[in-house]
């Protein structure tokens, strides 16, 4: 069967499944809409969390980032940073927030710091972090459609929006949870099957995690030794040792991603859906198991696909592939602009090297590594169709989780919490649906008109989560003395420092010309890149919060009792509204 038809069938089937689940899992109460009724099994929640967490970036881009841009070892910052945060979540946040038993992250901050102002600051941080994040997912949906189904970007984006709209508006957290479980299954098969094939064909070992440490079938050298040899011959940095900037930069970057991961509201609220504190702890472990399956496979895909690509272009040293004899996948991906060849010396051969003046592979997009991997490895068409469905599942599941976090902050925190405290349960459920519909449209609009700053926004989402939300939550639980003034001063100064640093290098609101210090390493504070600055913001938050808190009155007795309440699982119930 033709690849295109097959892709339509596979993607169509997965979409039908998501819609079916949406109709089955309609939300009938605000509790179902916000926290799926609070009765999700810890393993199911772990799986849903994994799909919620792993976005288009994890699925499509991460292996390529490791393999190309971050040159191997440097890519460890993502692997470590995006998994280590779950340890922080499991021990420092999830169980206590579950015990608190309410619906949103700003709600905890508002109650714990007995302040509407604190709650509003939290809502603003949440909305900025989540909206910037959702733009990336919308783009991912449009791109996956246009590359695999050869529709226009706009058609793809519209199709994706309609699907999310149906199950998110209808089902809220309940619908989203069950679709995310289905989406996890789709995306993990789509990721691991090509990886198993490529590992088998290169090393004879079907487990990619072991394959990367094995010898090649072709000449018996270790995969990583061969990779080091091939890339260094072409002038690239050694694969297993090249760091991303200085050691300090790698250190701070990893820490920022870990703290940011633990502070992202769309991940935190997933732990409100399990029945008990015990389950919240276990569920974080299960989430990481399901995430680790992809995250430990990614470095194998990165290394092996890069080796495959190099070998295709230069089968033996000094023996280059002729452009006219390039394989079909090369032509296909040239059409999309992800690969670009320029015959600089006019010999009709493809010379690929690190030297910018002679390199003829003028564009090798990071995304090519995962997207073209099955074709490079010569895998059957159904595997390629599955990769398309997997990329879409990853983008849709993350988008839905983010949309829920945003819409619940609007309907529950702003509307019910601040402006209309007397709204009825039914009124709030309707309001949350309207907020969800509005948020989907907003995300779609931003997907159609990606703002200039879209590329730089990952730094912003993680930076804000790390420098504001995580420290505020953590201090609220672990430091009973923390009060309103300390928390607000801490959040504002954490955000302030992080934004100042990002903007000074990347431009105010990412408008390049307004950057008053160029974005290059000599200008970076201690050589730390802007994407990595969240941990510094978190530290500033912590210090300012503690100092201001010490200078002001301690929190009232009932707040200290609230802290005692969240610290112990004793007397817990399921999530309740006010």
């Amino acid at each position: 069967m033709a690849l295109q038809t097959l892709t339509y069938i596979v993607v169509g089937l997965t979409f039908a499944l998501y819609i079916g689940i949406a109709i089955w899992a309609r939300a009938g109460s605000t509790k179902e809409f916000y926290v799926a009724g609070g009765g999700v099994h810890p393993v199911s929640n772990g799986m849903a969390t994994a799909a919620d967490w792993m976005s288009a970036a994890s699925f499509i881009s991460m292996a390529g980032l490791i393999g190309f841009s971050y040159q191997g070892y440097g890519g460890s910052v993502f692997l470590l940073g995006w998994t280590g945060g779950y340890v922080l979540l499991a021990m420092c946040l999830a169980p206590y927030l579950r015990k608190f038993g309410k619906f949103t992250v700003p709600e905890f901050i508002g109650d714990r710091y007995y302040s509407k102002a604190a709650r509003i600051v939290a809502v603003i941080c949440l909305i900025i972090a989540s909206v910037t994040y959702v733009i990336g997912q919308m783009k991912g949906i449009g791109v996956a459609f246009s590359r695999f189904l050869e529709t226009t970007y706009e058609t793809g984006l519209t199709a994706g929006m309609v699907i999310v709209f149906i199950y998110a508006v209808l089902g809220g957290m309940k619908g989203i949870t069950y679709t995310q479980i289905a989406q996890y299954v789709v995306l993990i098969f789509a990721y691991t099957i090509p990886a198993i094939f490529i590992s088998l064909s290169l090393t004879g070992n079907p487990i990619p995690q072991l394959g990367l440490g094995s010898t090649l079938l072709s000449d018996g050298t270790y995969v990583l030794d061969k990779l080091n040899q091939v890339v260094t011959e072409l002038g690239f940095a050694e694969y297993t040792t090249s760091t991303r900037g200085s050691t300090l930069n790698m250190f701070v970057y990893t820490m920022s991603l870990m703290i940011g991961t633990a502070g992202l509201p769309h991940v935190i609220i997933r732990f409100f859906t399990v029945p008990s504190v015990k389950d919240a702890r276990k569920s974080a472990g299960w989430a990481l198991v399901f995430i680790a399956i992809l995250y430990t496979t990614a470095p194998a895909v990165a290394g092996m696909a890069r080796l495959n690509l190099m070998n295709t272009i230069e089968p033996t040293p000094g023996n280059y592939l002729a452009y006219d004899e390039r394989p079909q996948w090369f032509k296909n991906w040239e059409k999309t602009g992800l690969l670009e060849y320029q015959d600089k010396n006019g010999d009709g051969l493809i010379q690929y090297s690190a030297d910018k003046t002679t390199n003829e592979m003028v564009k090798v997009d990071n995304d090519i590594l995962v997207l073209a991997n099955p074709e490079i490895a010569g895998l059957p068409n159904w595997v390629i169709a599955l990769v398309a469905a997997g990329g879409l599942a990853a983008a849709l599941s993350t988008a839905a989780g983010l949309l829920l976090a945003i819409s619940s902050a609007i309907s529950h925190d702003l509307l019910k919490g601040v402006f209309m405290p007397d709204i009825s349960e039914k009124g709030e459920l309707n309001a949350s649906r309207v907020a969800m519909a509005f948020t989907v449209l907003l995300a779609g609009y931003l997907g159609f008109n990606p703002p200039d700053f879209a590329a730089g926004t990952v730094a912003l989402a993680f930076g804000l989560a790390a420098s504001s939300i995580f420290p505020a939550l953590m201090l609220g639980i672990f430091y009973k003395r923390m009060n309103t003034a300390g928390a607000i001063a801490g959040m504002l100064s954490g955000i302030g420092v992080t934004l100042f640093y990002v903007f000074q290098h990347k431009g105010i609101m990412f408008v390049q010309s307004t950057a008053f210090l160029g974005d290059m390493s000599p200008n970076w504070f201690l050589g730390i890149e802007p994407n990595a600055f969240g941990a510094v913001g978190a530290l500033v938050n912590l210090i300012v919060a503690v100092i201001v808190c010490k200078l002001t009155a301690e929190p009232p007795q009932e707040i200290q009792e609230l802290v005692d309440y969240v610290r112990s699982p004793h007397g817990e119930g399921t999530a309740v509204s006010h």
Binding site: Y73, S76, A90, M91, L212, G213, T254, R281, G571
Partner: protein, 84 residues
């Protein structure tokens, strides 16, 4: 009652500190700061430091969380603060 709650919390915090020490040492020291030294040792075809940074730490994170969950369940029972 109050003393018991305080003892429970103290036990929790000390467990967290121990586990977070491991959480910090393995990836940040083993995978980043001392990676070059550890790369002198091989684990099959993997240099050890590289393996810690791209594989080992992730497995360890999973173990840490389940260990914490198990230990806390025991503490919940010991101090009789479990749910229900």
């Amino acid at each position: 009652m109050k003393d018991k709650a305080e003892a429970y919390w103290k036990a929790n915090v000390s467990l967290i500190l121990k586990l977070l020490a491991i959480w910090f040492v393995v990836p940040f020291l083993g995978g980043i700061v001392f990676v070059d030294a550890l790369n002198q040792i091989s684990l099959g075809g993997y240099p050890l430091g590289f393996w810690i940074a791209q594989q080992g730490s992730i497995y360890m994170f999973v173990v840490l969380i389940f260990y914490y969950a198990k230990k806390m369940s025991d503490l919940d029972d010991e101090f009789a603060v479990g749910g229900e």
